[in-house]
């Protein structure tokens, strides 16, 4: 029973990631694409959690936290580039 539910959930998450992928390709502005890529990262987290349920292992739980941190840092870097034009400032004067 649980196997069937996990497989249905995997299909649903994959379909939602296809929707995000459509937004990444089609998105009229760059912030649309950045937000869609962040959401794709969260979809990956869900897929890894479901696959570690299927494979019945604890080995992938570090990967979940890793993807969360990397998606956060990447989104912050991209939004800082969009707002200020540079990612790492040498010295801020305010």
């Amino acid at each position: 029973m649980l196997e069937i539910i996990i497989q249905i959930t995997l299909v649903c998450v994959s379909l939602s990631m296809l929707g995000f992928l459509y937004r990444v390709i089609k998105g009229p502005t760059t912030p649309d694409r950045v937000v869609a890529l962040d959401a794709i990262g969260m979809g990956l987290v869900a897929i890894i959690a479901l696959i570690s349920l299927i494979l019945d292992t604890f080995a992938f739980l570090d990967v979940i936290l890793l993807i969360g941190i990397l998606a956060f840092i990447g989104t912050v870097a991209f939004s800082k580039f969009l707002e200020k034009g540079e990612i790492i400032e040498r010295e801020r004067d305010y």
Partner: protein
Amino acid sequence: MRTRTNDLILQTITTVVAFIIILFSLSLFFAGHYNPGGGFVGGLMTSGAIVLLLLAYDIKTVASILPIDYKILIAVGLLFAVGTGAGALIFNVPFLTHAYDYFYLPLLGKTSLHTAVLFDTGVYLVVIGVTMTIIQTIGESE
């Protein structure tokens, strides 16, 4: 294209999240012997925390928070790795032979201490040094 902005939310979040990332990287580093993890991914996560500090603040502020020359960190890490290998030669065994034993530590109880951890510390320091040297060199150039 410089605009004067106030990064209050980003800086407040960074002060909390950077510590969580560093704790996670240390957990990855020490879990490396029995679980997934190790020196490489631990070092990458630690440099990820420093990159988050660099994003929220600037290079000068982070240099005053962490006054570390990352090129020296690479040298210290390589010294750890080579020193662990050369230390085996003292006991008349081949190069890079590791040893371990069980010790009774005050709070942790029976713990196995392994010299591979020292080698992993070298990997950890070298990964932090290389990553931060690359990022700071690219970030400082105009």
